[in-house]
Amino acid sequence: MSVEFGIIGQQLVNGLTLGGMYALLALGYTLVYGILLMINFAHAEMFMFGAYVGLFTLQGLSRIEFFTSSGPALLLLYVLTFLIAMVVTGILGVIIERFAYRPLRHAPRLAPLISAIGVSLFLQNAALLWISSRSIPFPVLFEVRTFRIAGANISSMQILIIVTTILLMLVLDTFVSRTRLGRAMRATSQDRDAAGLMGVDINRVIALTFFIGPALGGAAGIFSGMYYGNIKYNMGFIPGIKSFTAAVIGGIGNLRGAMLGGFLLGLLESLAAAYISTGYKDVIAFAILIVVLIFKPGGLLGESVAEKV
């Protein structure tokens, strides 16, 4: 019996790891929707872009001998890699907002949507043509250990991903609920015009939103590269669709909803693959999600929380 329990535990960890990546990416969709009521379809490419920047940073920095000389130095290397990749991806997000979305802010709502699809195609094809059409191996510079906990085999990579994901979410949650800028974000989300009249710099808040979302999406991309061992120009597409779904399930516009939705979708997918059928895992997961939406059209946390951010 303990073997069975161990396997269930391991499947839950598999699901949480996958869900953590979905959740990080879902936050970007929900943040932008909360502020602009816009679905940023280019967000999936932030996942890919972050992974590539992470790979190049890691490759560049690991040439410096110091970083691979000791354990703490290696940790520093990874922290730096994440910081640089998140900042660069965040800046890309801000640039995209400035040139592809801001000029269309007062256009009909379909216009920025189409613009977003265009940016997505542009970024994907740029990576395809300028980098490679093939999968590129993503090196892991530390030894991945597998721990046996109560019959379940859990790798140090999974623990790292789940813990870091939760940490990033806590930081974001605190930022939005406790800081002045966070308050400005919430105000903008409730009523953009009124917030502007009260002295909130709307453009700055929107730019900030477009920095945070892509930065988190980029981090999810690096996790994906580290966990699966390779990255590719179209790697963002499927996680993008799933994370968007996760955001909707949680109640789009609601931060905690996106986190919940991401973890839920990851768990559903893993359990469906494990206990029903690998080929039909997406069908099953999405069927359950449709049922959830029939009974709670606003998403799981969509109605109970008044604030959108």
Binding site: T17, R134, S135, T146, I238, A273, A274, T278, G279
Partner: protein, 402 residues
């Protein structure tokens, strides 16, 4: 904008489009004709080559093109004396059935194309073969191993590679008898190639007396197999057999080993590339097995000659799994072109009757290629049934017999 203005604009755009088409068409022809300049006297004949030149399996596809190119360049001077200007028309199929059918249509619409070397993937070769059949052009696949390809009743479809029935049962015997592995979890990637290979393997393994503990399907482009490998780990079979390409195979190997699975992963020729080891990680891939069609290059009858020729023509590039098959497939068509040119005359080559004669000449092929003796049975399958097992040792595939 007034009506007159927009009409004028339309006319300008139409003209530019036509100009662009003319320019690109010239570009294509230049590539084909260069070197002689006296095309007027020579009959222009082309061999179409289609396999993935972009995407994950591009290395294998480009290898096929390199092989075919070597064959065509080697015989071009000889054919020129016969009055034939032979060139290659290479079109990317991106390993995608739809792109592949478009590529097939593009190639057969050029009446100078008398034969096709292609495709890599069975899932692409099968739909494309219908196009070639309707156009009456011979197709020689260097690498599509699914048995169904040659069982469609098309007289124009051939292949120089060993089929999955042979490969699957070889793998089953090998695992059971040589490696002493008794139980297996079978996974396939839901493609014509992967599904076919895995089914052949599973049937042969059970016939041997082995136990198939589970069969699962995955989708191409999936990356997360942790749930699947955890489930398989729970049933603890001796090994995992995967029918599919290395992109998914490498991830399954990696995730299975990281989840604590101790047996090897085994698969077919789709895994036999260095990329498999690179993506899985050398430590995870260590001890994994693959069977691949034919003999290793070093044991192929003319392997060393091919290697010397390859290194001179493509310095710095490496020989992939199917380069010699691409070469032999092109040679099969070239031999047929020579035979028909001698029988009917060079002017008949690109006619409907000429192309039909080429199909018949290919069916009667009998020569010593790089990969061994090349001849076809009544279905169009090669009579060469060699399969070689490979294993990952110290981060690289080596022939298991070494």
């Amino acid at each position: 904008m007034s009506v007159a203005k927009s009409k004028r604009l339309f006319a300008v755009i139409a003209m530019l489009t036509m100009l662009a088409m003319v320019v690109t068409a010239c570009g294509g022809d230049n590539g084909a004709d260069n070197g002689d300049g006296a095309t007027g006297d020579l009959v222009e004949v082309k061999i179409g080559v289609s396999s993935p030149f972009t995407g994950d399996v591009a290395a294998l596809g480009l290898g096929i093109r390199n092989g075919a190119q070597l064959a065509i360049e080697e015989v071009a001077p000889e054919l020129e004396e016969l009055g034939i200007s032979l060139s290659m028309l290479a079109v990317d199929d991106a390993a995608d059935p739809r792109t592949g059918v478009n590529a097939a249509n593009q190639m057969v619409s050029d009446s100078a194309v008398v034969g096709i070397v292609g495709h890599l993937n069975s899932g692409v070769s099968i739909p494309a073969s219908e196009v070639y059949n309707q156009a009456g052009v011979v197709q020689v696949s260097p690498a599509s191993t699914n048995p169904a390809l040659t069982l469609q009743g098309f007289e124009n479809v051939f292949r120089v590679c060993t089929i999955d029935t042979v490969q699957g049962s070889f793998a089953a015997e090998y695992a059971y008898d040589e490696l002493g592995l008794m139980s297996v979890a079978v996974i396939d990637d839901s493609t014509a190639y992967g599904e076919g290979l895995a089914a052949e393997f599973a049937a042969a393994f059970e016939a041997k007396g082995g136990e198939v503990v589970s069969t699962d399907k995955i989708q191409v482009k999936d990356v997360d197999f942790t749930a699947l490998v955890t489930k398989i780990n729970g049933a603890s079979p001796d090994f995992i057999y995967f029918g599919g390409m290395y992109t998914e195979g490498a991830l399954i190997s990696k995730q299975a080993k990281e989840a604590g699975f101790e047996g090897p992963l085994m698969g077919g020729d789709g895994l036999y590339t260095q990329q498999f080891v690179d993506i899985a990680g050398a430590a995870n891939a260590e001890g994994d097995f693959a069977t691949s069609i034919g003999l290793p290059l070093s044991e192929q009858p003319k392997g060393q000659e091919f290697q010397a020729m390859f290194e001179e023509r493509f310095p710095g590039e490496t020989i992939e799994a199917y380069d010699t098959y691409g070469y032999d497939a092109a040679m099969v068509i070239i031999e047929a072109i020579k035979a028909v040119a001698a029988d009917l005359g060079v002017d008949e080559l690109t006619t409907v009757a000429g192309k039909q004669a080429i199909i018949e000449a290919v069916a009667a092929t009998d020569f010593e290629g790089v990969t061994g003796a090349v001849a076809f049975d009544e279905n169009g399958d090669t009579t060469n049934k060699a399969v070689t097992p490979y294993v990952v040792r110290d981060g690289a595939w080596i022939s298991y017999t070494d």
